[in-house]
Symmetry: C2
Subunit: 414 residues, 2 copies
Amino acid sequence: MNLMIIGRKAQDASAELAMLETSKKQEALLKIAGLLRDSKEEILAANEIDVAAAVKKGVKDSLVDRLRLDNKRIDAMAEGLEQITELKDPIGEVISQWKRPNGLRIKKVRVPFGVIGIIYESRPNVTVDAFGLCFMTGNAVILKGGSDAINSNVALGAILRKGLTACGITEDAVYVVEDTDRETTKQLMRLNQFVDVLIPRGSANLINTVLENSTIPVIETGTGNCHIYVDKKADLGKAIEIIINAKTQRMGVCNACESLVVHRDIAAKFLPKLAEALAPYNIDIRADEEARAVVGTFSEATEEDFGTEYLDRIISVKTVGSVEEAIAHINRYHTKHSDAIVTRDCKAADLFLRAVDSACVYVNASTRFTDGFEFGFGAEIGISTQKLHARGPMGLEELTSYKYQIVGNGQVRS
Amino acid sequence: MNLMIIGRKAQDASAELAMLETSKKQEALLKIAGLLRDSKEEILAANEIDVAAAVKKGVKDSLVDRLRLDNKRIDAMAEGLEQITELKDPIGEVISQWKRPNGLRIKKVRVPFGVIGIIYESRPNVTVDAFGLCFMTGNAVILKGGSDAINSNVALGAILRKGLTACGITEDAVYVVEDTDRETTKQLMRLNQFVDVLIPRGSANLINTVLENSTIPVIETGTGNCHIYVDKKADLGKAIEIIINAKTQRMGVCNACESLVVHRDIAAKFLPKLAEALAPYNIDIRADEEARAVVGTFSEATEEDFGTEYLDRIISVKTVGSVEEAIAHINRYHTKHSDAIVTRDCKAADLFLRAVDSACVYVNASTRFTDGFEFGFGAEIGISTQKLHARGPMGLEELTSYKYQIVGNGQVRS
């Protein structure tokens, strides 16, 4: 279907969604969860086509795994929708209100964005997850997944629309774009007339393409070159535990630690412990000259290393002489995602919290906590790495805008 | 100077600005206000070069007037800075805080964006106004004005930097870009590494160019196709007063009324009154067939009229049979800026407030109130017409982002 028509329909649907009662939205999500559980056979059949095509194309095993659905994964999607129904509906919340001297009463009220576009890659579960979050916040959503997952996505989209129709809600609340060519994606990125916000989810490459080409406001998510600074007053045992967790618990995620900054005064004591602790994980430790003088087995870090998000079994180490120097190093090389200090010094902790320019700044905790669920939001559409609108983990509230409602009795401006 | 160097310096400056005490920012703004008053001669000399060049080029009188500075206008700029020092500094505000079951304490704290880029046209006062708002919110600012005003802007920029230096603050908090060619503007729009947000201020053409080319997050401001709906239960006298105010008080502004929607049941009574009331203002009233059947002197409205922001002595009129039809018409043709209903019917008013998808929705008041000062913000950097981040009038708070500060005692993720 023509994207202009899809856009217009989504916009019309968004007007209906914005007025839906919370209970109606909950009813629809529960209905769809049930339908997903009842439609496993048809979903798996569609998914099998995608998986077979990927295998035939020689796609990497890890990517085929992302693509593959099974009963458990379908149940998880259904559960995800059910969990969303338990969250507080942010729509309609009065954020603030006041009265002007001329008698005008102004209310700032939380409203949906309207139409959200999601551009994503091979995980078909995003189709259901993203729909659920957008729908609960009263937004219509246009979903543009990767060509690898197109059969799975179309099958899932049909179930979503069927569930909406069964509840008397317009099926245009969700649309899975069937054309997966680049030209369609480009058109979607320029559909300003109908789409209010675009959220790309996937690789750095995908996100950069969207930033480069979109004329619609984008929420950038993704890249995390996260640092942990081990201060001279750090509890070194805790530092090791935190680093092991942040580096090794999951390697390929944006809140994993990629760079260490170590205070000179504890380097001789700390770095050999670090080498020993990371040894079982087979991590390549790329260090500056000063750190290599302490542990000869560290490999050499280049300038480029300090700015790299490895998402792999590599970590960089930089030695510094003060918390101020650590902050300057981090602010120069990080991606403003998540950075931590390990210290028992309140003054150093406070300075670090204030001066490090990241979405999430930690004292004595793992950067891995940057996550909507870990923050208690009960949901997550992504982790924003820009400063406009939302920063860090994004839950339901971050999928909303606001409007001003102003009530007068004939006021005119003089 | 190379924009990469300018960007880097601005980013370094922003780290310093983010940590400044409120009193220090106030001191600097007052110092600069004084310097502006003391430097009238040099500012006016620079401005005279711009004005003479514009006159020589045959630029329209109204544009030359925008460009021209005089003692009064310089005083107004200085007063603007002084007024900003009286506003509440939003930086450092704890927006919310909570504790997680694992003991992590999370604080959401208001912080500056970092570096803001402003791209604007011929009014040199924007140089000072925009700097004042950005500086008070702890942001460094890169100002790219129009070539018409370059000498004025450079002179003003030099005074801003001189004032900062006199207060011991880095002069890189503000930079007036001296190259006014398109290539430089394009580079600025792609300086993602250093610039956090871009705010274009000026014509629809300028704003579209920025939306089209920027890879940096943009706040769109400007276009207002504002509607007033006169309901069947309207106080017709009030409706006339509100329409005259919204249409004629200032024609060329984004919150002026461009389109009327009139309920059929009161059309015969209301439209002749409207024709009579607008007659002294020489307004071309472009109406649909039904309205023209009531007042034969109305001219004909085309489909295009309903979607046009005239900024001129023209207004369109559409007849409808219900508040629902009025809402549907408005949601189709408006620019989501400001729309009003005139009615004594609470139910119609409530539906209109909820269903019209605009930044500002009014009951019984003029759309001209969409303004940072009229809202009581004490300042305005522009009126956002997008839904991401800020909507409607933007004051100091809308020039900020937030960060999460998380304090633990060794927590790791399991």
